[in-house]
Symmetry: C2
Subunit: 312 residues, 2 copies
């Protein structure tokens, strides 16, 4: 990744060293657990977004790196707590904290990372009122997660689905870009554009994830196939299939009640155009991203945003 | 409480209205759960500490109330997560979130409250570097909790015990006082004194809690008697009893392994002077509190600190 953008590649390498150094604790369990989670090889999309936005302005590692580390560590915190809720055993090919240790230590590890994230935010030099971006995002994230949890096993509307994924996934990509833009002193108008890009990217990214969960022939990134539906999480292709073919709702409900075959469900999602329509909505968000890029003052780094959109 | 201090009583009443108004969320589950936890009738010691410290300086509700709400909501967040870990069913006479709903929703409710706490902190108008007091406290709190969890079922030294309770309990009382002092623009020197008072108060408060767990004839505040030892948490009276009578260690270990009678254990803690020595250490911290009060510039509110120390 970023091989066409040596400047970004260099920043990401320096950032990797920075974040590792930041993961310290007097308590050796928390230090090791934090490192395990954060350094287990994610794609680092969120910090890259903060860095790319910042490269459009007055770039300074001493302000940008804490912001970028803050969003990545926050992301890690949410993964640790999500893995408790989802009962997940494997993440990025490694045992999750809740599986390797237990729920209790995973609760504290997540809390610790969440706090670490907020402490890094305080290091950016931004004024408190500007810092509320990320803190507010975390509130929204919690709300999105609770909504997803409470709507388990029910087929919500496309509108509710979008509201949920924007809170759950969009908000953190958006906050990454906003923080990057703010720490590089971009104008409010420009900052808003980067934030909007992050939000649309997040929506497309989540729909892509939904499709991957459904279409991959084998487990990718350590996640079993059709895991979401098995866990009661109704993804966009399922929602679209029910929208096109209301009779399919009964099949999904029956499946949740323990009847029916997941392979038949999968066939019917495809037959009802669920995948096709989910892809169409994903492409609409990709199109939105491309349009926002056009409005951003061009720099050598703006193309990196186009490239990451193409990757979707 | 505070009946001898009408000014404090009035502030606490106004604060109660303030904190209730702050507990909002788009998500009705989180709103209700937050209110249930925060408004379930705690003693509000931590916000009272912030308010009392602030009354020694340039007092202004618009800065003090967010600080006081921040520490109380943080305290509530830790209770929600602690109740998951301790498998607690009842708190303040009400069902805990983890019991009434489930672990998953309790994880998110705690995260949500934690974030709320940090957002309130941003409303105090304090500079980011001053805000790190509370954020750092949360890190220390997590470390203290993990240390307690990992040292379950083992009799640690008095030194390790003190380190743990200062992180677990002292730190938040200290942070309350420091935040109150800072938002009222007290000098660094005065702020340090209030912080030190909070730390010593916290230590005495925790030892008092340890003694209560051991001595109360019946459940108080919804907690069953000798609950700590049953949960594998070795409190100060047990540590002191083992220190005075090393042979007692085997009895405690046997009890953890499923042999022995809790009533005999209790009798032996008393016989080995565990309670007497724990009380002595508690009194040492109370004495420290009284000495610190002498160094604080006298105001009509300084006596409230003496009164709360007497209550211990």
């Amino acid at each position: 990744m970023w091989s066409n953008f040596p400047a970004i590649k260099e920043e990401m390498a320096a950032f990797e060293q920075y974040i590792e150094k930041k993961l310290t604790s007097r308590n050796s369990f928390l230090k090791n657990a934090s490192k395990e989670v954060v350094l287990s090889g994610g794609k680092r999309l969120r910090p890259a977004f903060a860095i790319i936005a910042a490269l459009h302005g007055d770039y300074d590692r001493s302000r940008i790196f804490p912001a970028a580390a803050s969003v990545e560590i926050l992301h890690a915190a949410t993964l640790v707590h999500d893995d408790i809720i989802d009962n997940a055993k494997i993440r990025r090919g490694q045992q999750t904290i809740s599986e390797k240790h237990n729920t209790n230590l995973a609760v504290y590890t997540g809390d610790y990372l969440l706090t670490k994230s907020l402490r890094l935010l305080l290091e950016t030099g931004l004024k408190p009122e500007k810092l509320d971006v990320l803190a507010r995002s975390i509130s929204l994230l919690c709300e999105g997660e609770v909504e997803q949890y409470l709507s388990k096993y029910s087929v919500v509307s496309v509108y509710q689905y979008l509201k949920r994924i924007l809170s759950k996934t969009g908000i953190l990509f958006s906050a990454s870009m906003i923080l990057g833009a703010k720490t590089a002193y971009l104008s409010d108008d420009e900052t808003r554009r980067f934030g909007h890009f992050g939000m649309c990217f997040g929506a497309a990214f989540q729909i892509r994830d939904d499709l991957k969960d459904l279409l991959s022939e084998q487990a990718t990134e350590g996640k079993p196939v059709l895991n979401d539906l098995k866990e009661g999480i109704v993804t966009l292709p399922v929602i679209m299939a029910v929208k096109n073919n209301p009779g399919f709702l009964k099949e999904v409900t029956d499946y949740f009640n323990g009847y029916g075959d997941i392979n038949i469900i999968l066939r019917n999602i495809l037959a009802s155009g669920g995948v096709k329509d989910a892809e169409r909505l994903k492409n609409r968000y990709i199109e939105k991203c491309r349009n926002i890029i056009k409005d951003i003052p061009r720099t050598p780094y703006t193309n990196a945003m186009s490239e990451i959109v193409d990757w979707l």
